[in-house]
Symmetry: none
Subunit: 117 residues, 2 copies
């Protein structure tokens, strides 16, 4: 069999066999199968698994986050909707009354301080 079995793959990638099945179930990997249904993990898949691990703990995000990112790249509708929402910036732009922006700037300052703390 060209490619590792699930336990071997788990061994070399640091994921548990359970998690490899879970990763497949949420659509993050699609390892091919043998005739009899055994998953086989090739070098690319193994590398991909290691990269995923790196990605998660470098940025402290969850699998569902990555899965959602994947959903966005496949669903153009969704991707556009999300973009549009962020595009509709709440960064009070033009319509700001002049007696507003002072307090707004003060608040921004407070928010920044809050972030630092």
């Amino acid at each position: 069999m060209d490619g590792l079995t699930i336990n071997e793959a788990a061994e070399t990638t640091g994921w548990s066999p359970r998690m490899l099945r879970y990763l497949e179930s949420v659509g993050l990997i699609q390892p091919p199968r043998t005739e009899s249904g055994y998953r086989k993990f090739g070098p690319e898949e193994l590398q991909r698994l290691r990269t995923l691990r790196e990605l998660l703990n470098r940025f402290g995000c969850g699998l569902s986050d990555v899965a959602f990112a994947g959903r966005m790249r496949e669903d153009d509708e969704l991707s556009k909707a999300v973009d549009a929402w962020f595009e509709a910036a709440p960064r009070l732009p033009e319509g700001v009354a002049s007696d507003d922006w002072l307090s707004w700037e003060q608040e921004k300052h407070q928010r920044l301080l809050g972030m630092a703390a």
Copy 2:
């Protein structure tokens, strides 16, 4: 006060006051404040809130999903890393001989890792 108070905003957007505070706490909205600290919701923010609701139940996603999308648009590093991971799809592109695909994949990974790093 130009702009609605939190209860009024809740009334017209369908969110509960509790949720409006929660949405702010996870960084999805940043309503400005009055001098004394009251949140004030302007027309833009109200529209944004309605759009968010629409977004969530149209695509059946969670707030944390949208929050993560937001994180990606602000963190270029993260966005690149996620892209790179999906780019490294374990699918055999057309025209790659089966003798070649292994080294080809490995090369691609080299390139992608170089980008991400």
